[in-house]
Symmetry: C2
Subunit: 458 residues, 2 copies
């Protein structure tokens, strides 16, 4: 019995139409990455386990896919370990490599290993798949692409401004008008914790605050209380729950709240510089908005925090995010290299463009010309003709076999071919070919010797 | 102590210059795949183990990277199996997924799973990494890209002719003049084994014959004898050892040798049709040559066999190969689908282009314009200027910090920037910018309001 084939859960096959659409997004992102001066790197799909393990917290470690050692892997396990029959003890003995979990840690590893050949500040982009043993669900996969751009070795807020512009440029090019780039700063969050006297509960405080739009002010207050933040502290933080107005107005409110916190005021000053710079240069279609509740990846970011949401009316989580981190390469021994990066969520952007009907029509056209096959002599003439077409960059093929005309035309329809070329016995004798416009049904006859008249139509 | 980072043996980091060169090759291949009517698909990096295991022989099974089950993997192993402490018994209990070993088996799996949505004949291409736990050595890696184009569901030799043209088109475009496309047919090899009375030793016979250019006629005769092929049989096959002349001349010799073998004559007839078709259409820079010693992947191919070698003078194994296979999808339950495919060896093509100095110079240019940073006000003006440049597709950046001019110019040199833009205090006051040609040292002043005068220079 032959196997009935399947693929692992959480993974996907991409058919031609999907690849075309995914590539459209990727190429757009890539184009702007390059126009902004970022250079591509690629790192291996798997890393040594000790490069990855311990970098993403306990949950992350669990979700990393481990690769079994090759050959007689079990013979290298000593008897004591083996007799324990514990996965955690066996793991390091039978697996030394793991699939990359994100592009950031491999990038940090890359920077440290290649530090002597890199011209800092180093602006790199990387568009590669990552793997996570997460429970698959709608929009969450075990294999997915990340599209990251990072600058390391430069700590001016020019970078923040440029990355906001970059988001705007990409989403504008994708015709995704009205995305919102939310902006916060870790230093503001630290400052708030400081002025309300809850530094020791910074994480709990920001995790609760981050849920404001989901659970509302009452919910946030309850969660903070439950985490041990005092009523007095929460009351001091109350202005945050109702912050509104333009970004600069919000900054004014923050200044009065954070006046006594040096780090908080530093965060406000940074945001102010970023916002005035971005406003001076101007955004095309995106909205830039301060959001003090934004906390994503707090342990990781040390300055600016970004998150992009799709235009209103599309229900979708964030379609991009990022921020500044001050010591990413430190874990691999290279200290004091400030970095800032942003990421685009390919799968979610795909779903948004699909929902809004924003994929260009031309992506559906996989071929320009199909030659109908009428037999050996005719198809040889077709082959000569399409060789010329192909040299002009026209996507063309001869139907491989001289089957029924009807079947060949059905194939042409299914592949949405704009032009079908017919070279039958008579055309062959006359040195001509007939081109049929599949939209209008119109047919025109051309000489084999001058294809230019036809290619102009395409 | 921070970790000293490393990457697994047999894997590679690709730095910007390498990515640019690899992408140049990949984009060239891709362009021609598309112009020839092939459509892209992508399959997951890992497959269910039973999709891959048993498809590549025992050696192949050993070289497949297996992925450890997530979570408490060992708890699912029964005590009897566990107490055996045998890798082969444990493997299926602790691993259900494996990294893909090539693109062909996943493609066959794809065709079977998606057969109802595919318009046959299906011309697909696929450019993705594969992984093999091979011993790494010069030019052999544990992670490498395959670039495959296959047609399934069409058995006319038009396909063979087109794929030969496709090789020619790609290598011509890469300026790799003088590659040789070697052509054989499994049926000819079967025919020879038949007429010399060694059908039962077909594999041994062809494996030995395949070594003719390495070990010479004497060596081949010795190996055949050792494998149990009779002196008489070898004597009958002797004309093969000295076959020469044009492809059509060789076919004439084969006809006299194979006259009594139906399958052999069928193979000759197929080759003849392929060669006359290709000659009628013409090749641009490649040589097409019959090579009856060519046997690669014999178990797999049932008709035409291709192999491409680099131009003479470059010592490198094959840079491409492929052939026709008649029942690839049968293993997954879809019978009678004939297929033919070719593959491009990215890593070897890279080495050949490098050895011959054929990479275009423009690949080294990662950026068009760098703006020197003279401080906050000046860099804001720079940012506005390069926003306009970027909108015109020009790769541009502002140096992130206002450090010493010398350091910024060094960075510009290292990144091989053709133009550096200077906006100092005075230029800012005048609404001007200075562009310095880094090749000639020439400087010109332009008005900020009309960048066209400058962009024309680029």
């Amino acid at each position: 019995m032959p196997q009935k084939p399947s693929i692992p859960k959480g993974t996907r096959d991409f058919s031609p139409a999907e690849v075309a659409r995914r590539n459209y997004i990727i190429q757009t992102i890539k184009k702007h990455f390059e126009v902004y001066g970022f250079q591509p790197i690629e790192t291996p799909s798997f890393e040594n386990s000790d490069t990855l393990m311990g970098k993403y917290g306990e949950e992350g470690d669990r979700l990393i896919f481990k690769i079994l050692n090759s050959g007689d892997f079990i013979s290298k396990v000593d008897d004591v370990t083996y007799s324990s029959k514990k996965s955690s003890s066996l793991l390091p003995k039978i697996s030394e490599k793991a699939l990359r979990y994100d592009l950031t840690v491999p990038f940090a590893r890359y920077v440290v290993m290649h530090q002597n050949e890199i011209d800092f500040p180093f602006k790199r982009y990387q568009i590669q798949p990552v793997w996570r043993a997460d429970r698959p669900q709608k929009g969450r996969f075990r294999e997915f692409y990340q599209c990251d751009a990072d600058v390391v070795g430069a700590n001016s807020v020019l970078q923040e401004a440029e990355l906001i512009q970059l988001y705007d440029a990409v989403f504008t090019d994708l015709k995704l008008v009205g995305s919102t780039i939310k902006l916060n700063n870790r230093k503001i969050l630290s400052g708030i914790a400081e002025v309300i006297g809850a530094q020791h509960l910074l994480i709990d405080f920001t995790v609760a605050l981050d849920k404001l739009d989901k659970i509302g002010e009452e919910g946030v207050r309850k969660e903070m209380l439950a985490k041990g933040i005092s009523e007095l502290a929460i009351e001091k933080a109350a202005p945050l729950f109702t912050m509104s107005g333009s970004s600069l107005e919000q900054l004014t409110q923050l200044k009065s709240l954070l006046g006594e916190s040096e780090i908080g005021m530093q965060g406000v000053a940074e945001l102010e510089e970023i916002i005035t710079t971005v406003e001076a240069v101007g955004l095309k279609t995106a909205n830039l908005q301060v959001d003090v509740t934004l906390a994503r990846g707090l342990n990781y970011y040390t300055g600016a925090i970004f998150e992009v949401s799709a235009p209103e009316g599309v229900s979708m989580g964030s379609i991009g995010g990022g921020g500044r981190y001050d010591d990413l390469t430190g874990i691999f021994g290279l200290k004091d290299v400030s970095g800032i990066g942003i990421s685009f969520g390919l799968d979610r952007i795909y779903l948004v463009l699909e929902a809004l009907g924003l994929f260009p029509e031309h992506l559906d056209k996989s071929i320009d010309v199909l030659c109908i096959n009428f037999g050996a002599k005719e198809s040889l003439a077709s082959l000569k003709l399409i060789s010329q077409l192909r040299e002009n960059g026209i996507k063309a093929e001869v139907y491989p076999t001289a089957t029924k005309m009807q079947k060949q035309m059905k194939y042409a329809n299914n592949r949405k071919v704009p032009y079908v070329i017919l070279i039958g016995e008579q055309e062959l004798a006359n040195g001509e070919f007939v081109a049929k416009n599949m939209d209008t049904g119109e047919q025109e006859t051309y000489s084999m010797d001058s294809i230019a008249a036809f290619t102009e139509k395409l």
